[in-house]
């Protein structure tokens, strides 16, 4: 073999090895499954594609867990992982699926709303591929996703995303962000199809409340809050006051801006009778000026740079050496969700929703998130679903 051929062969082998070293973990991540043990309250598990068949067979299709109570009442849609790099919502939703029992009304739970984003990664920002939650029976492993859907589901991005139907110009990558594609359309790009399917779920089932669980940086003013349009603001305000007084944590109310289109808290309210609420819990992991993006930072939120910034009053949350652990974030989501149901039910007794078995903030901070997950290896096979 000539020298040139030797060099080319070695380089080709190195390139293949590099592709395998980089590509195999990504491929494994994309197809990794997270088992969910459906709790006693789950009466049915359907697919989002039931509301838009175009999603069937795609990575964008996702499970909808239905928890129907004995007594008819109001209907609530709870979504998580609209942004799959904000996992507190996912964990809260899974805790509800595994533990909630609905006495009156119906819950529709979509823990992986942007299923494609949940299988996307952000290695260029040093994100870990997985994180583990310690439980009483071992570690439960979750995929760490990305904010936007994978280009493998929806490609290419436009230069500018022209939002439907108002034609507001949004950032190019927001076409893959399911918190910018509401209300969606059946023949639009894939993520618009996802949000359209969710709108159809709400319209067809006459859903009364929609709750979208998120996380936001500590350096961002819209964090540690409930974002609500005018029609939801009274309930949001009562929830905010009550959790502060009775459960001891802050959760202020942010008004949903009328001129910023595509977000769930805006479009769900404008295009249906459903009352939308978007919940933000602080997630220090997403802040720009932190140390390395480790799973430890994701779980406990402790960072020396953020602590320094906090002392200079640059953060929008009270941040100290204790960070902002996952237990607090998940606890906030669970408590605020339960309080929204309670305050709504007080004002609307005919369409009340009563749920039990979901832990509140104090319980999660005391017992940890993993305490509420059940061991899939010990559960009946028909109760185990995969995300």
């Amino acid at each position: 073999m000539t020298r040139e051929r030797w060099i080319k062969s070695i380089l080709a082998v190195l390139a293949v090895l590099l592709m395998l070293a980089g590509g195999l973990p990504l491929a494994r991540h994309r197809h990794a499954q997270v088992p969910v043990v459906a709790g006693p309250g789950v009466t049915n598990v359907i697919k989002l594609s039931e509301f838009l068949p175009a999603l069937r067979g795609t990575m964008a299709d996702t499970n909808v867990y239905v928890l129907e109570g004995q007594e008819p009442g109001g209907k609530v849609l709870v979504m998580a992982n609209t942004h799959a790099n904000e996992p507190a919502g996912l964990l809260a939703a899974l805790i509800m699926i595994e533990n909630a029992v609905v006495e009156k009304g119906t819950l529709y739970m979509i823990p992986e709303f942007n299923a494609s984003a949940g299988r996307n990664t952000k290695p260029g920002d040093g994100y870990p591929l997985y994180f583990d939650i310690p439980t009483e029976w071992g570690h439960k492993r979750f995929r760490m996703g990305n904010r936007d859907a994978s280009p493998l589901e929806q490609w290419p991005d436009p230069d500018v995303y022209i939002h439907y139907p108002d034609r507001q110009s949004l950032s190019f990558n927001d076409v893959r962000n399911t918190n910018r594609t509401w209300p969606g359309r059946p023949d639009g790009p894939r993520m618009e199809q996802v949000t359209f399917a969710a709108m159809e779920l709400m319209r067809k089932n006459k859903v009364n409340i929609a709750i979208d669980m998120h996380g936001a940086e500590t350096m961002f003013p819209v964090t540690n809050c409930i974002v609500a349009p005018i029609k939801s603001s009274k309930i949001a305000t009562l929830v905010s006051m009550t959790v502060k007084a009775m459960e001891g944590f802050d959760n202020h109310v942010e008004p949903s801006p009328q001129n910023f289109r595509g977000l769930s808290h805006r479009e769900i309210g404008d295009f249906s009778d459903t009352l939308p609420f978007l919940l933000e819990a602080p997630i220090p992991f997403l802040d720009q000026p932190t140390g390395p993006k480790t799973t430890q930072l994701l779980l406990d939120g402790k960072d020396a740079f953020l602590l320094s910034l906090s002392k200079k009053k640059k953060l929008f949350v009270p941040y100290d050496e204790n960070g902002w652990p996952m237990e607090k974030r998940v606890g906030q989501h669970c408590s605020v969700t339960l309080e929204i149901l309670k305050q709504y039910s007080k004002k609307n007794p005919e369409t009340a929703v009563r749920v039990r078995g979901v832990p509140k903030y104090a319980g999660l901070v005391k017992n940890g998130v993993g305490h509420y997950f059940h061991d899939p290896s010990k559960a009946e096979k028909k109760s185990v679903f995969y995300e």
């Binding site: 060099i7 080319k8 380089l11 190195l14 390139a15 590509g23």
Partner: protein, 51 residues
């Protein structure tokens, strides 16, 4: 998969092919050989639906 997305995969495959051809034809510059392979990696990962 829409028509435009399919076309983008075709374009990607075409560019990957061009890079492989250039790599095969390159006789002198080792730097250029490395460059062709590095640029090829993300295109291959996209064609294999990995990333």
């Amino acid at each position: 998969m829409g028509v435009i997305m399919l076309l983008y995969y075709v374009i990607t495959a075409f560019i990957a092919g061009l890079l492989l051809w250039n790599f095969a034809c390159e006789k002198k510059s080792v730097n250029d050989m490395i460059l062709y392979l590095l640029v090829l990696i993300p295109l291959v990962l996209r064609l294999l639906s990995v990333k």
